[in-house]
Each structure stands twice: as structure tokens, then as C-alpha cells.
């Protein structure tokens, strides 16, 4: 048995876009334990519900995270709408679904780029991010913002997408599909990429379940769990099946996310084909009173919003359980027994979003 060494990893580290700190306990080159230290980005925004009223809080909810910004706004609005028993127009449900799937697409492309960067494939990183810009262009054209667009509101959405633009988006999806195929070939078939991801960081189905993993992390280990199947927004009217893989290694997680991107494109096209005409927003008056748990499938997995209202315009409590928070135990488990050189790629394959996690 070698001598034990502790290597501090982070908070500022080239592979991490966001600060998290891990104390890696090593025996020679092998990690035996990883102890997380978080709190570098903790803001305490859940307590802000006591200072901002429930309408204003939509803007704060969108800023829980800049990557799944739209879905955070949507999840929050859905929780409040359920408490107030507001039924939003069908067209708004479809528009939300389109933006949500575009968000998933851009988030997975972003992740794909960061993964390529983590194993030192710089040109692949650039290609993925180049493709991602097309999605951001759609966001900018339809909402005015690239990253945070405040288009979701309690009672519906703020902006409509014209029929012409919808047609254009469907066209962009077709051309992107071809380009994505080219990039994904490299991630799926390139032997040099495969040697870095295959068999690395295996998480068994049982372990994924025991550790409460969610999203692509759980689906790559064979757990079929996708909140979209519960049919919130317009998902009930669309035809899709959760993407599941069995192996549970980095390769399986990459493959799940790549297939989800094709799925997102398909879902957007399905939405555009059947989106009904009509209003995009209902007027919401009064204050919420009651409580509700909403669960939404974000790019990183299931997110839980719990809102409790007391009939005044300030909520009693808003709690967000974000997917990365649920995936951290699974990460710590996969780190045990891995080589030090594999640590960056393992951290990346859970697709960590620290600012979500710490709020």
C-alpha cells in the first residue's frame, strides 16, 4: 500500500468553469476518497422570496443558473400556477416546450464542448460551440436575449413566435441535425476519444439508484426516469421515449446526451407541426395560497421546486432541489478508485452546474 496523499482540487482549476473544491485522497495515482467543499457560489437566493414578491421572483428564479435559465423560470411559474390553479393557454404550453427543448440542445452542446476540452480535443470543443451559436441565434431572434431571456411568466409566456419564424426554426433543426451527426461521429466512434471514456467511471444501476442519481447520469446506468414522460407543458401530446443506456461509464453518458440532442430536435419539429393558434397568456390576479411540488426534467436531470404561499404576495418558502445536488453523491462514488488523470473527465460527465447546486 502506497503512502496516502491529499491533493486539493479547485476551486480555481483550468477544467472547471465554476468553483468547487474537492480534497482528493490518493494512494499513489489512485483516488481512494473525495471530500467535497462547496459554498463558493452560495448566494442564499431562496431567502429572497421574503423580499421580492412572487411576480418579481420569476426573474430571480431564472438567474438560479444561466444555462438552464429558461427551465428554472418555467419550473417556478408552473409551481405558482398550480397553487393558483391557473390554466395557461395551449399555445403557451407549446412555446414553453420549444424553448425548453432548445435550452436542452444548447446545454448539451455546451457540455459536449467542455468534455472535448477536458480530454484535450480543442478543435472538437470549438466545433461544438460553433454549432451551439445557432441555437443562441434562435433565442435571440425569438426572445431578444442569448442566455437569460425572461420570456416565461406566471400565466403563460411574454412573446409569441410567428409562423414564419417557426418554419425557419424547423429548417435550422434539419441542417443542424446533419452537422451534429458529423461531430457526434467523433465522440461515438473515434478510437482516441473512446479510449478516454469507455470503462471510465462506471456507475452500476444499483449504485445509481442507491445514490439517488437523476437525469442522464441515471439513464446512462439503465434507470428509465424522465420527468417529461409525466406530460407537463406540451410533452403529453408529443411522441418520445427516454434515452437509456446500460453500461454506466463516461461513454454511455456521452451517448445518452448525444441521442437526447437528436431527440430534442425531433421534439421541436413535432411541436412546430402541431402548435395550435391562440392566446399566449392569461391574466393572473390575486395572491397564491397553498403549497406545491413541481418536478421538471432539466438537461442535467430532475429538478424539484417546492413553493409554499400564505395568501400574501410574498411566499413563505421556495425550495429548489437541483439535479447536480442529487448527482454529487454519485460523482463522489465514481471518483473512488479512479486514476488521478481521469478526475477532470469524471467531474465533467455529471455535467456539474455548481451555481444551481449552491443557489
Amino acid at each position: 500500500m502506497g503512502k496516502r496523499t491529499v491533493i486539493p482540487f479547485g476551486p480555481q482549476h483550468p477544467v472547471l468553469p465554476e468553483p468547487i473544491h474537492l480534497d482528493l485522497v490518493l494512494e499513489d495515482e489512485v483516488v481512494v476518497e473525495a471530500i467535497p467543499r462547496i459554498g463558493y457560489i452560495h448566494r442564499g437566493l431562496e431567502k429572497l422570496v421574503e423580499k421580492k414578491d412572487y411576480q418579481q421572483y420569476t426573474y430571480v428564479a431564472e438567474r438560479i443558473c444561466g444555462i438552464c435559465s429558461f427551465m428554472h423560470g418555467m419550473g417556478y411559474c408552473m409551481a405558482i400556477e398550480s397553487i393558483m390553479e391557473v390554466k395557461i393557454p395551449e399555445r403557451a404550453e407549446f412555446l414553453r416546450t420549444i424553448w425548453a427543448e432548445l435550452s436542452r440542445l444548447h446545454s448539451h452542446l455546451l457540455w459536449l464542448g467542455l468534455l472535448a476540452d477536458a480530454f484535450g480535443f480543442e478543435s472538437l470543443f470549438m466545433q461544438s460551440w460553433k454549432l451551439r451559436e445557432q441555437v443562441l441565434d434562435i433565442f435571440e431572434e425569438t426572445t431578444g436575449g442569448r442566455v437569460i431571456f425572461s420570456v416565461c411568466d406566471i400565466g403563460g409566456v411574454r412573446k409569441d413566435i410567428s409562423a414564419d419564424t417557426l418554419k425557419k426554426i424547423a429548417g435550422i433543426m434539419d441542417s443542424m441535425e446533419k452537422e451534429l451527426k458529423e461531430i457526434s461521429e467523433v465522440f461515438i466512434n473515434d478510437s482516441s476519444v473512446k479510449s478516454r471514456t469507455k470503462g471510465v467511471g462506471v456507475l452500476s444501476k444499483q449504485a445509481a439508484f442507491d445514490l439517488g442519481a437523476v437525469g442522464p447520469m441515471a439513464r446512462a446506468s439503465g434507470i428509465e426516469m424522465d420527468m417529461r414522460t409525466q406530460g407537463y407543458a406540451a410533452y403529453g401530446k408529443l411522441n418520445f421515449k427516454p434515452v437509456v443506456e446500460k453500461k454506466g461509464d463516461c461513454y454511455a453518458r456521452t451517448s445518452v446526451r448525444i441521442n437526447e440532442m437528436f431527440q430534442s430536435m425531433d421534439l421541436i419539429k413535432q411541436c412546430i407541426a402541431i402548435i395550435p393558434e391562440g392566446d399566449i397568456k392569461v391574466k393572473v390576479t390575486g395572491n397564491p395560497n397553498g403549497e406545491y411540488f413541481t418536478r421538471v426534467e432539466q438537461p442535467r436531470g430532475e429538478v424539484v421546486y417546492y413553493a409554499k404561499a400564505n395568501g400574501s404576495k410574498y411566499l413563505d418558502r421556495l425550495r429548489v432541489r437541483t439535479p447536480t445536488f442529487a448527482n454529487v453523491p454519485a460523482l463522489l462514488e465514481t471518483l473512488k478508485g479512479c486514476a488521478l488523470a481521469d478526475v477532470p473527465i469524471l467531474i465533467l460527465t455529471i455535467d456539474p452546474c455548481i451555481s444551481c447546486t449552491e443557489r
Partner: protein
Amino acid sequence: MNFVKKSPWILHYDGSSCNGCDIEVLACLTPLYDVERFGIINTGNPKHADILLITGSVNEQNIPVVKQLYEQMAMPKVVVAVGICATSGGIFAECYNVVGGVDKVLPVDVYVPGCAARPEAIIDGVVKALGILEEKQKFARKKNS
């Protein structure tokens, strides 16, 4: 020849931002905006960097980290606060764990507004920072001669 012009390298640190500005900083490096054509590289090593880009506000726990990064950078150096959170705390200013903008702990040279700051604005801010960096270099040379 008593000096050589160096390509400005950037060190990026995420204070407590929501990620929005961070991904826009990264987007500046990728093909559409491509600041690398100006010789600007995003480095992970503070000793290599000339410009410190900070996104997000500061809190009790990351103040020592931010200070240490700044102190490790060689003189002359400039600090750019990217996004409204790094400028003043923004929407999170009232949170219990937010101290405020980066200027509470470091001398900030350029403020880039926006939530999230657009890549064009970030590039504009970095170009302004380059001008300030040059002034500082000139001043340092004069002092040494």
C-alpha cells in the same frame, strides 16, 4: 530593445455568478467571436495572466481566493468586472451571502454591464482594458528607467 510586447492573456474566475456571464466569456473564445485572433488566450495560471476577468459578486468565502489570484498576477495587471453582479451585486445584492461587487476587494479598472453581459460588450471591455494595461506598462517603464 528594452521591451517586448506580450499578447494579453486572460484569467477568468467565477465569483458567485449564475453561469450566464461565464458561458458568455467562454463564447468569446469560440469561432463566432474568436478573440484568440488578437492573441488573447484564456489561461488557468495566474502567473501567465495580464487581465483578470471576474464574473459574479464576491462573498466571504471567495474573497481570499480572489485576492490570492490577484496577488499572484505579475504587475502591471488590470481587473475587469463582467456583468452586473460583479459590478454591484445585481439582482442578488440583497442576499445574505453576497458582499457586493468585486470593487469591494480589488481595484477594478473596467466595468462591463449586462445580465448576462453580451460577448460584444465583454470584448469591448477587454479592449478598453488593453488600453489601460498599455498605459500602466508605459508608466512602469518610465519608473524603471
